[in-house]
Structure formats: C-alpha cells, structure tokens
C-alpha cells in the first residue's frame, strides 16, 4: 500500500475530526456564559454576602486594590455598587439621582453577560431617573395596568430572569472617593410585586 493511498484512506476520518472540532468549539463558546465558574454575576453574588448593603438595597463593592478586585478590569477611579436581581420575585425598581457634574453610570447586565441597557447621569431628567426592569410579560402587564407613568420612568425588558445593575460613580481625584461612594447610597433598588407598584 502506498503512502498516498493510506492518506486518502484517512481523509474522511480527518474531515470528521475537523467537523467534530468545529462543533465542540462553537458549542463551548456559546455555552461559556452559562458554565463559566467566575462570571461577573457569580462574583457579585459572593461579594454580596460580606459587603455592605445600603438601606436602599445597593451592595457597596469593596475598593479595588492590587490582588483584590471585586470585578476584573474595572477603573480604579470609580466607587462601585451593584443590585442583584431575580425577576421571579417581581419587578426591579431602580431610582437614581445625579447633580449633573459628577459622573454616575448605571448599566443593566443579564446573567448571560449582555448589557441590555446603560446610561449616565447625563440622560437624567432634572437630575432624576427611575427604571422598572422586568421580563417581557411583566413589562407588558405593567404597561396595561397603568397608562400614566411618570415621564422619568423608563421600562426595561430584561433578556433573562437573573442579572445585576452595576452603578459606577467617578471620583475625579483620589480624595473624592468617599464622596463618590456616598453618591452610591442615593441609588435605590427595590423589588416591586406586580399589582402593587
């Protein structure tokens, strides 16, 4: 048997190997957000057990330092807080206010790692903003029951039941850090049972 004939004989097997490799690759990439052991939501759930919880329902993340970063790749110039939500318990209402000068950013993340909404204090109306986060069915129900929502109330449809809101408050100088952290205390996160809110 010649070398060439042997190679030709192995060709379908090599092709099959490639096909299997491609399927494994695609599936593992798509599954990664579900199976990754240290995804952002998992990290935040762990932090929430020990970190300070404000009376308004925001978990204050400990300050980042070399070796101890609550979330990787965050800007060390920021004070940060998070609200973890599970929409099975009801809608999430988030209220924030800004003074128009200090940067305050709110981003809404789903468990799968998608940012489904993000804003900064610039898009607040008269320094106020209110979000109602719910699943598609919950938001639909909400919009059917009250026609007159206040103008600063924004309805957000979450792509997944679980997720978190990350609140970032900029300290323009290191000496502003305490003030930036204080601003996180003005953010309110609460669960609203449908029908009551």
């Amino acid at each position: 048997m010649t070398m060439k004939a042997r190679l030709v004989d192995l060709l379908p097997w090599a092709a099959a190997t490639l096909v299997v490799a491609a399927i494994v690759h695609v599936v593992s990439i798509l599954l990664m957000p579900e199976v990754a052991p240290r995804a952002a939501l998992t990290r935040l759930s762990e932090i929430a057990r020990d970190a300070e919880l404000t009376p308004n329902g925001v978990v204050l993340l400990p300050a980042a330092a070399p070796g101890v970063e609550p979330l990787p790749n965050e800007d060390p110039a920021f004070a940060e807080g998070a609200c973890l939500f599970d929409l099975a318990e009801g809608l999430l209402r988030v209220r924030a206010s800004g003074d128009g000068d200090d940067f305050l950013g709110l981003s809404f993340h789903s468990a799968g790692g998608r940012v489904f909404h993000a804003m900064t204090d610039r898009s607040m109306i008269k320094g106020e903003i209110e979000f109602i986060v719910g699943l598609a069915a919950q938001i639909e129900e909400l919009e059917n029951e009250d026609e007159e929502a206040p103008p600063q109330e924004v309805h957000l449809t979450a792509p997944a039941r679980r997720g978190f809101v990350l609140i970032r408050s900029l300290a323009k100088r290191p000496s502003d850090m305490a003030r930036a952290r204080e601003r996180l205390r003005n953010v309110t996160c609460e669960t609203v049972k449908q029908g009551e809110g």
Binding site: M1, R6, V20, I23, M32, A77, M119, R122
Partner: protein
Amino acid sequence: MRRVFCAAQASLERGKQLSSGGGVLAAAGRGDNTGDRRGAADFVQQPFLNYLRAATVLALGLIFGLAATALSLRSGAGLAAVRAGPWTAWPRIGGVDIDPYARAALARAGTAPLGRDQGLYFIARADSGGAPLDGRCEYRIGGATPSARYWTLTLSRPGGGLAPTANDRHGFSSSELLRKEGGAFEIAIAREARYGNWLSPGDLSSFSLTLRLYDSTLDVDARQDAANFPVITRLRCA
C-alpha cells in the same frame, strides 16, 4: 491453559499494533497484515477498527475544539475591534449586539463591561513605535485624547489586573492631571519618581495601558485617526 494465554497475548499484540498509529491502522483495516486466518481476522477486526477510529475522531475533535476555544478566549475580547495607533477597543462588548466570542471571553474573565452608552475603553500593549510596553523602560504619554466628558488612563498588568506600585497610584483622570499652559498634558511612566504626572509600573516586566472615555462622542463606526489619541513614546530602557 497455555493456548488461552497465547491467544490473549496475540490479541494484545494486535491491539498494540492497532493503536500504534494511523498508518498501521489503515494497513490493518485493509486486512493486508500477514496472517493465516485473514478472512476471519477481517471479520472481527473491521468493526472494532472503525469503533477505534471513531473514538479517535471524537477525542481529537474534542481536544482541537477546546484548544481553539481556549486560544480564541486568550486573544482578546471578541470580534470587531477598533484600532487607533497602539490603542484597541471592542465597542460592541457594551451593547446587546455583543458577539459570542466577546461574551465567552467576558464570562470567563468575570468582567462586567462598560455600557456602550456610557463610554468606551481602549487598551494599549505596545508603544506608538510598535514595541511591547516594558516595565524596565521609561515612557512619555502625551498628545490628544478623543472628545469625552471625562477620561482616565490606567496602568495595569498585561491581563488587566492592578499591580502593586510604589506610590499606590494606578492612573489619572482627566480632571486631576497637571496640565501645561493651553491644556496639553504629559504622563511619565518610569520606575523611579518623575516630576508632574507620574505612573510607576512597579516590578512588572510588561504592562498595559487602558484609556477609558466616559460620555464620549467618538464615532466608533468611523475609521479612527491615531492623531486623536495619546502618543506613547519610549524614552530609554534600563
């Protein structure tokens, strides 16, 4: 008793032969290995051989597929990168149109990206001349920054983590920088203290710089002009 032993040994040998490489497998599959009971051997061998091949295909496919995943996750935050000089950004990671590769990379690292409507961050792992950022070298960062309400420039490990530094400072924000007349700025990166805006790479042998733009009006769909971004100049190396 002895016969049974011999038979077992023979089949063991055959197994060795089978598992010792594709070439031998192919040869065995064709049934052209010398043996006096060729037909019977083929009859037993062929399905067994194919099972073995299928198992090899599955095992190799699994290894190659996972290797490809590991490699693609290591190489960065997904597709659709925006580049300007030494700076690279992935604007789509902060929106709903994030690609699966970026989503996998972020989940694996545990990162919560900055929302697209909040800002954008650029990472530099090399200077403007293209040489990798080296902790033993001294650098000067200056020039323009894209328009933004605030920006910060941070020095970190190549992977993004903060590193211990001599002065406990990891970066500067646009509002705290010491500026020259006219608003131009200069940041010095060196292990030893420098006048003005100084960042230390500490003991890091290599590092990366992150430029974060907040409330930026930068059009990420347009081609970026490196002249709008800070220039990283290498001065000297120890």
